[in-house]
């Protein structure tokens, strides 16, 4: 039996009191595509950073082609032929394709660059590997995300790698680009490369990988063959939690309609959206990037103006001219990038919590500090915000607690409609559950809640109804009690349209890698 291309054994890594990795094993056979899946916080990125030589493991061994490495850094790892394709596209925008491709390994003529030769060579390589032509003289900033990704892959290929590690490569790609990427990765495997593919999109893993390692809470819980293990089983391995206990949901009888959209449309983003939101109801909204779901929510935030149709609030036609306008009309907005839009990181917890309703604490144009303190202490206790006190800057709070502050600031305002954009992204499980509890409480108090999320189990757990958007239209509506992630995803990806993956112009090229 030959030695595996990559073998990590018993890797442990501690950050302070948290055990990020606990005796993790990862064995990748030569010439295979190995998937690595796990929830956020399961330890995927820590493991990759250990492999990349960025973090040093507390214990455990790493072997490449059977050769055990000790005390390695990023450079040694690269020299051994392990290359990484990061999810952020690490290429300077003002560079031409040739410059970006040969960056740091420039083609020279004496001390000078050979720009034209680089561009020519870049075009040749792209044609050879991927049968692609980029517009001549194009700058990186003019390429789309998929093209940049391909450029990164080509750049990695120049170094004649043995192992390529893809770290969440498809996050910002649309479906067609993902298919193209997957086909390219298969092509690379067929040329003999070993691939490690990290993603939390299980469909990609299923269609791409030969073996899958599942991580949970910093441990390897299973190594499975995706051809014989269903996506649902893999998902269960990842989560291993009773969905019911994680999503505290109380049954509320929906009241009257609060917000209604009639035939709403904006440009090519979305069209003919009919939707009504009742009191006491949590409605889930989902769709892939480019499906228009995000844009629809942005319209309700007052960030994008719809061009057709109408919005009715409490039965009256209305328009949200700006987020400020929407807030004044009683809508609570919790945007996705809470650090940018949701909270003011440098202000204290108290200031953030009272910011949305300052008028309530104002007497004769001055703020009443005692009132503010009392109200914020009440909210801190009620929401279980973990903070040293109401004077702590929000910046020092964890992601989950920041999110609670972002939600909490609306609570005192008696809002009728809550619009939440990816409320649980990037926060740990415990905090997630508290956020879910909060959402369910809002509904119980008679608010209507619309949640946009790409976390399907979450949507199923917290909402009453789920709306799925596909290519700008509402594709389907599901009763949350009678649907599973697979059906939602099939609907969101338009799988019922019969799109086959792998339609990509990759040739079965026999050219040796440069």
């Amino acid at each position: 039996m030959t030695a595996p291309a990559l073998h990590l054994q018993g890797i442990s890594k501690r950050f302070g009191v948290t055990r990020a990795l606990d005796e993790v094993d990862l064995r990748v056979e030569r010439g295979s595509i190995h998937g690595l899946v796990g929830e956020n916080g399961a330890g995927k990125s820590t493991l990759i950073k250990v492999l990349a030589g960025i973090h040093r493991a507390d214990s455990g061994t790493l072997a490449i082609d059977g050769q055990v490495l000790r005390g390695f850094g990023p450079r040694q790892i690269e020299a051994l032929g392990v290359h990484f394709i990061h999810q952020e596209r690490l290429l300077p925008g003002s560079f031409t394709v040739g410059e970006a491709l040969f960056f740091c390994h420039e083609l020279r003529y004496g001390p000078f660059l050979r720009r034209r030769a680089q561009d020519r060579e870049a075009a040749r390589l792209l044609r050879e590997y991927f049968a692609l032509e980029f517009p001549p003289g194009a700058l990186v900033s003019e390429l789309d995300s998929a093209q940049r990704q391909i450029l990164q892959i080509t750049r990695a290929l120049l170094a004649k790698p043995k192992i390529l590690v893809f770290d969440e490569p498809s996050v910002s790609l649309v479906k067609r680009e993902v298919d193209q990427l997957l086909a390219i990765i298969r092509g690379l495997r067929d040329q003999g490369l070993t691939i490690v593919y990290i993603s939390h999109y299980l469909q990609e893993i299923e269609s791409l990988c030969d073996r899958v390692t599942v991580l949970r809470n910093g441990r390897t819980v299973a190594v499975v063959d995706p051809r014989s293990t269903s996506t649902a089983q893999v998902a269960r391995l990842m989560v291993n939690r009773d969905v019911g206990e994680m999503y505290p949901k109380t049954v509320v009888t929906p009241g009257e309609v609060v917000l209604q959209l009639k035939g709403l449309g904006a440009g090519l983003a979305y069209r003919d959206i009919n939707l009504s939101l009742r009191r006491g109801e949590v409605v889930g909204l989902t769709g892939l990037v480019g499906s228009g779901a995000k844009e629809l929510l942005k319209s309700l935030f007052g960030l994008v103006q719809p061009e057709r149709g109408s919005v009715h609030l409490h039965g009256q036609v209305t328009r949200f001219k700006s987020p400020r306008d929407a807030v004044r009309k009683g809508i609570a907005l919790v945007p996705e990038e809470r650090r940018i839009h949701g909270v003011a990181p440098l202000l204290s917890v108290l200031e953030n919590l009272t910011l949305a309703g300052l008028s309530r604490f104002t007497r004769a144009c001055l703020l009443n500090a005692a009132d503010e303190a009392r109200e914020s202490d009440r909210l801190i206790a009620e929401l279980g915000i973990k903070t040293a006190g109401h004077d702590t800057a929000v910046r020092h709070l964890s992601g989950g607690n920041q999110q609670k502050v972002a939600l909490g600031k609306w609570l005192g305002r008696d809002c009728t409609v809550y619009l939440l954009d990816e409320p649980s992204v990037g926060i740990d499980i415990g905090a997630k559950v508290e956020i879910y509890r909060l959402i369910s409480r809002l509904a119980r108090q008679g608010a209507a809640v619309l949640v946009l999320s790409s976390d399907l189990p979450e949507l199923i757990g917290i909402s009453d109804r789920i709306l799925v958007m596909h290519r700008g239209a509402l594709a389907a509506e599901f009763d949350a009690g009678q649907v599973d992630s697979d059906r939602l995803l099939a609907c969101a990806t338009g799988a019922h349209e019969g799109t086959a993956p792998g339609l990509c112009p990759v040739r079965e090229t026999q050219h040796a890698l440069v």
Partner: protein
């Protein structure tokens, strides 16, 4: 982001780029044409050579600033900036005058003066790279420090001096082009080759624009940023000789050139396809400003108007390029 925006954006952006790029070259030509028609003797070879020579000091300083902007990123607030360049020139000129008057031989005087410029560059590089101060504040502080040192050295007076080197720079001519003009072109050529045509230059661009990418490619980002401040310091030293030749010694008030230097370096951005700071663009911007000042003189327009025009140019260029960058960020 809605599709309509995605579709519309590149077009709007392309249009913006087109206006900015073509517009700036067009404006340059228009200004030349207007001055050529209205100002007497504007296009005579003697006058053009004169403009080149008079632009040498500002131009060489602006080349230094261009390198710093490339290496530190073009964000005006957080990116690379060296406000101490003009003060550095003043100090170097004072150092050279003092050394020359104290009887140091030519090579020593020149070497020590350039070393002084480099030392100031190293100080800036140290505060920016090692102490991680924002370049705006770091170089503002060093500007005051250096201006103070200059005052200590000169007692706030003019230090007249005379040497064969200064005579050559002030009076020398080759092919009927004054020596100062040759200095400008020589520095432009050298830095142009280094920045636009060598791997070092390309990497410096990457360091400034996307430090994470440069780090991921295995570059030592701090070293590159530091080197850009060294180049700027060296430029200040070289410009000091031009200044000393022009004024026959060190003068007070060299700090007044700062606004012009910043204006030129940022104006140079619009003369490139990628809208980044670059040496040829800075040369063009230097000449544009030189012709403008020269034309105003020929037309007998008060010279404070030049300051006003510079201010407007800075505002326009910074506003337009940051507007375009915002669009890019949204993509």
């Amino acid at each position: 982001m809605p599709w309509s925006e995605i579709l519309a954006q590149p077009l709007a952006r392309r249009l913006g780029l087109l206006v900015l790029r073509r517009g700036s070259s067009g404006a340059f030509l228009l200004i030349l044409a207007v001055l050529a028609v209205t100002a007497p003797n504007f296009l005579s070879p003697g006058n053009i050579a004169n403009v080149f020579a008079q632009s040498a000091i500002l131009g060489i300083l602006a080349f230094g600033l261009t390198c710093v902007v490339i290496g530190g990123g073009s964000n005006v607030v957080a990116g690379g900036l060296d406000l101490s360049l003009a003060a550095n020139l003043g100090l170097c000129a004072a150092v050279y005058s003092s050394l020359n008057n104290a009887g140091f031989d030519t090579v020593q005087a020149i070497g020590l003066t350039l070393l002084c410029g480099l030392a100031v560059g190293a100080l800036n590089g140290f505060t920016v790279v090692v102490l991680r101060l924002p370049p705006l504040l770091a170089t503002l502080a060093s500007m005051n420090l250096i201006a103070g040192l200059e005052l200590v050295l000169t007692q706030n007076s003019v230090l007249p001096t005379d040497s064969a080197l200064l005579d050559t720079l002030a009076m020398g001519e080759w092919l009927q082009v004054p020596a100062l003009a040759w200095m400008l072109l020589a520095v432009a050529l050298l830095l142009g080759l280094l920045i636009q045509h060598s791997p070092y230059g390309l990497r410096l661009y990457a360091v400034g624009e996307y430090p994470e990418a440069a780090r991921a490619a295995g570059l030592r980002v701090g070293l590159y940023v530091f080197s850009s401040y060294l180049i700027a310091g060296l430029c200040a030293g070289v410009a000091a000789f031009c200044s000393a030749a022009y004024f026959s010694g060190s003068t007070t008030g060299s700090g007044d050139m700062l606004l012009s230097v910043v204006a030129i370096a940022f104006l140079g951005v619009v003369f490139s396809r990628r809208l980044v700071a670059n040496i040829p663009g800075t040369l063009l911007a230097t000449l544009l400003l030189g012709f403008l000042i020269n034309g105003f003189q020929l037309l007998n327009i008060a010279s404070f108007w030049v300051n006003g025009v510079q201010g407007v140019l800075i505002l326009l260029v910074v506003a337009m390029s940051s507007a375009l960058r915002k669009e890019e960020g949204g993509l």
